[in-house]
């Protein structure tokens, strides 16, 4: 995989993971063009398209597009599964994840992605193991935080999480639907 982009229906970038070295300018250009291309596609269109010399695999989950660029010899179908696995991980972690979760906790989205993929390839194929590792790392973070005797922000995460009043369609229901009609 060369890169993965998450963006909203309005084209706002929510996450960008690059596995190839490119300048900031190039990344911006690619992002702009690719987002435009994917957003222009109609709902019934194929999840795969050829763009420049890459294969693009994308899937929309509620208000978010998950878009991966893979090389010629890579398997598009399994990339779709990878995208789906990532969404499942986010869902398990955040509990019925929605776009807002990813906006406000983007760094966590990155941490989860980095426990699932490394250098563009899957490093762990068991959902359970990825989540366990994240859990442990989070714990370590809390412990080290407390040890530094800073004003208790250990609970901040929880309180902030519960203060979400804005409602957006959750991704979870979409996951169920898509799993059943996965083709």
């Amino acid at each position: 995989m060369q890169f993965m982009l998450l963006f909203s229906r309005q084209g706002k970038l929510r996450l960008q993971k690059w596995y190839v070295p490119l300048s900031d300018k190039e990344k911006k250009k690619i992002t702009r063009e690719l987002v435009q291309t994917v957003l222009a596609r109609k709902p019934k269109m194929c999840s795969f398209l050829e763009w420049r010399d890459l294969k693009i695999v994308y899937k929309r989950y509620a208000s978010l597009y998950f878009c991966c660029a893979i090389e010629d010899q890579d398997n598009e179908l399994i990339t779709l599964e990878i995208i789906h696995r990532y969404v499942e991980l986010l869902d398990k972690y955040f509990g019925s994840v929605c776009e807002l979760d990813i906006i406000f906790n983007f760094e966590k989205a990155y941490f989860i992605l980095d426990e699932f993929l490394l250098g563009g390839e899957a490093q762990e194929t068991s959902k359970k193991n990825v989540l366990k590792a994240i859990e442990q790392a989070d714990l370590l973070q809390e412990v080290s935080h407390h040890e530094a005797c800073i004003a208790p922000s250990g609970n901040a995460f929880l309180t902030q999480h519960s203060s979400f009043l804005i409602h957006e369609p959750t991704l979870n229901s979409h996951i169920l639907i898509t799993r059943n009609m996965c083709s």
């Binding site: 970038l13 399994i78 760094e107 390839e121």
Partner: protein, 732 residues
């Protein structure tokens, strides 16, 4: 100094901005605050500030001033700091900036940290964005971790090693010992990443490939376990156990099994098993089938009907894939059925596909045509339905094909003629048809083909060809074909006067190409009338593709195609010498002397020598300047063709300051050596030779644009031309 606002607070605030300008203002304010906080070297809030910076960076704002801060975070002892620090490094730093090298030491320390999650962070960062220098420095550490018993670290180390190898391929060897027992792991994460590592190594080095072939039985066993073992909740995806691992193993097996019978044998059973056991109603099943099909081509045939159906799909990318796959699936057994579908597709598909589809049809037909008649019919169908989309280079290929099907000549020319009567707008069709009519015009009128009615009146045929000459729809190329065809018919039809008239009219055509041809043909009528019959115009390829037997001399290859006609003319003159010998040395008047490029004149043999291993190509002579090309294959590098150009001048004045320049498409490389001189003497008293070396590693059809500049009678002259009819042997 109040504590910097929290990350989520900032996010919330920014999202309240109603305009881009408002957002920018907020960002700028926050950036200023962050900058002063950085200046104060505040350890407590550095993490929070960098996190905020990363958010703003994602919105598109510059964040480079945070780069060093990321490095400080990485160096911190707190896990929180490291987590954000490494994330920041991956987002803000890149290997083009020297700053990233400062990370190397930190990463080295963290790779040896006591906490595996810290080691994990370091491995992840190195594996995502490590530059070549960093990889070189840290490869040893990665190799160490590849041998650890900690599966959490081992799997990460494996992928990190993949990245190191991609960046610094020479280091691949050092990871070899560590791969020894990678596959004996039970942990799926380690297995998956190990297979990725092994795949990378095998793809890069044939030696590695051979070395790892012995792993085939082990891989087969692992795959078997995945399929046979019962439900495993941890790895299940829609009823399939760890499809990610299965797919990867299949991909590696395909690589290992390629061109190795033993390995392929060992795999066959399991491949069949996977194929039968895998349900394709879900995407994940298809994901596994995909690499399987890449390994076993027979399996693909089973899916042929699905693929053919996809030709009718609405989605453009699916249609294209289906088209490419269909062509790949065509073989001797299914050619008739497949071609029916593909021709139907050609009729109805979007214009963007037509050129590729037409080329594909021609190729497939050439390989698998069940009969010559079917072949010609197929070609006709393509020319009539998608004639304007057929590629330019198809025309000479088709002509060659038709020439080879001797028994079909009558049928072909009849059909082509009928097609012309219907429609003269599709240039490739018109060009092929003109050529055939010129060549086989006698068959057209003789009524040899029982199925079609003979064309009664020869004048009708000439009407059609002349019609092409004057029509607005005809391109200059097409006009060239028509004129030549008309000329050829002068030896087959009796209406010579009419033909003479046409030819002389075009002697003053504005189109230089046509004018040139007409003038030369005129000359044939005048000076060499007696030879017109002897020199029966035959198609190029019979001579140039290696037919160098004496019998061909009688039917000297007069190339009637575009661009070669003046060389043709030169040929004529050469042949004339030969034929004079054969005909018993008639005294037939003056023969124009032409400068022979390299070989000494010797009776009979010269034509053969000229052709020899060298195929001649040429271009229209421009204002008396003739350029001739001869070819040699270079030893030891077969990808290099050595082309020698010979420039000669038939006019009465010298051409001085002669410069020859050439350009080739991007896939070629060109080297021009020094010319023999820069004066082309008048009246063919000598010529300039210049050697061109062309490197053609992709073995593509050679095309060349040439530019000639010289001074003639005091005035500067410039000529441009494109040569794209180099005979295949010169570049294959």
């Amino acid at each position: 100094m109040p504590a910097p606002i929290r990350l989520r607070e900032l996010i919330r605030t920014i999202r309240t901005a109603r305009t881009q300008a408002e957002e920018r203002e907020m960002i700028q304010k926050e950036c200023a605050a962050i900058r002063s906080s950085f200046r104060e070297e505040d350890n407590t809030y550095r993490c929070r500030n960098v996190a905020k910076l990363l958010y703003m960076h994602m919105l598109g704002y510059p964040a480079h001033f945070g780069q060093l801060e990321c490095l400080k975070l990485i160096a911190s002892q707190k896990f929180t700091d490291k987590r954000i620090g490494y994330l920041g490094a991956m987002l803000l730093l890149d290997e083009r900036q020297d700053v990233h090298l400062l990370m190397t030491n930190c990463i080295k320390n963290d790779l040896n940290h006591s906490t595996q999650y810290v080691q994990g962070l370091a491995l992840c960062t190195l594996g995502c964005m490590g530059s070549s220098e960093m990889c070189r420095d840290l490869a040893g550490e990665v190799e160490k971790l590849l041998k650890t018993s900690n599966s959490y670290l081992r799997k990460k180390a494996a992928l990190c090693a993949v990245h190191v190898i991609r960046k610094v391929p020479e280091l691949m060897e050092m990871f070899l010992p560590a791969t020894k027992n990678l596959l004996s792991e039970k942990n799926h994460g380690v297995l998956h990443t190990s297979v990725v590592l092994l795949t990378e190594m095998c793809e890069r080095s044939p030696d590695m490939l051979t070395h790892f072939r012995k792993l085939v039985p082990q891989l087969v066993r692992i795959l078997k376990n995945l399929i046979m073992s019962g439900y495993s909740p941890e790895h299940d995806v829609s009823g399939i156990s760890d499809p990610f691992l299965q797919v990867r193993i299949l991909r590696l097996l395909r690589i290992l099994g390629k061109s190795d019978d033993d390995s392929s044998e060992a795999m066959n059973d399991i491949l069949a098993q996977v194929a039968t056991n895998t349900e394709t109603s879900k995407n994940v099943g298809n994901a596994i089938l995909f690499p399987l099909l890449q390994t076993d081509h027979n399996a693909v045939q089973r899916h042929r009907s699905t693929i053919v159906d996809c030709l009718k799909d609405l989605d453009v990318s699916i249609k294209r894939r289906a088209m490419e796959l269909s062509f790949a699936l065509v073989n001797g057994n299914n050619i008739r059925g497949m071609m029916k579908e593909l021709l139907y597709f050609l009729d109805s598909c979007d214009p963007e596909f037509k050129a590729d589809c037409a080329s594909g049809v021609f190729l497939a037909a050439e390989k698998y045509a069940p009969s010559k008649r079917w072949h010609i019919d197929t070609i006709m169908r393509v020319l009539t339905t998608a004639g304007s989309y057929v590629r330019d280079d198809s025309v000479p290929n088709l002509i060659q094909l038709i020439t080879n099907s001797v028994e079909m000549h009558a049928y072909t020319v009849q059909r082509l003629y009928k097609a012309l009567l219907d429609d003269i707008s599709q240039q490739p069709l018109v060009q092929v048809a003109s050529w055939c009519i010129g060549e086989y015009g006698d068959l057209l009128v003789s009524g040899q083909c029982e199925e079609e009615e003979p064309i009664q009146v020869k004048d009708e045929v000439l009407d059609v060809l002349e019609g092409l000459l004057v029509s607005n729809l005809s391109t200059p190329v097409t006009r060239g074909y028509s004129l030549t065809a008309i000329m050829k018919l002068s030896t087959r039809f009796s209406s010579v006067n009419r033909i003479k008239k046409v030819v002389s009219i075009y002697g003053s055509s504005i189109d230089v190409e046509l004018q040139q041809r007409a003038v030369e043909y005129n000359a044939l009528f005048k000076k060499y009338d007696h030879m017109r019959y002897e020199l029966r115009w035959c198609s190029t390829h019979s001579l140039l593709t290696g037919g160098r037997t004496r019998s061909h001399l009688n039917e000297t290859g007069l190339v009637a195609n575009l661009g070669l006609h003046s060389l043709t003319f030169m040929y004529l003159q050469l042949c004339a010498n030969d034929l004079l010998d054969l005909l018993g040395g008639h005294d037939v008047g003056p023969v124009i002397q032409t400068a022979l490029p390299t070989k000494p004149a010797s009776a009979g043999g010269e034509l053969l020598d000229l052709l020899g291993d060298l195929s001649l190509s040429g271009m229209p002579s421009m204002n008396g300047l003739k350029i001739e090309f001869t070819f040699e294959r270079s030893n030891p590098n077969p990808n290099i063709s050595v082309i020698t150009i010979h420039a000669s001048n038939t006019t009465e004045a010298d051409m001085t300051d002669f410069v020859f320049q050439a350009a080739v498409p991007k896939t070629f490389q060109l080297q021009l050596l020094s010319p023999s001189s820069n004066v082309v003497p008048a009246l063919n008293q000598g010529n300039i030779t210049q050697v061109i070396r062309v490197l053609n590693p992709q073995k593509q059809q050679l095309r060349m644009r040439i530019k000639l500049t010289y001074t003639y009678k005091g005035a500067p002259v410039q000529d441009l031309a494109e040569v794209n009819n180099f005979p295949p042997q010169s570049w294959q």
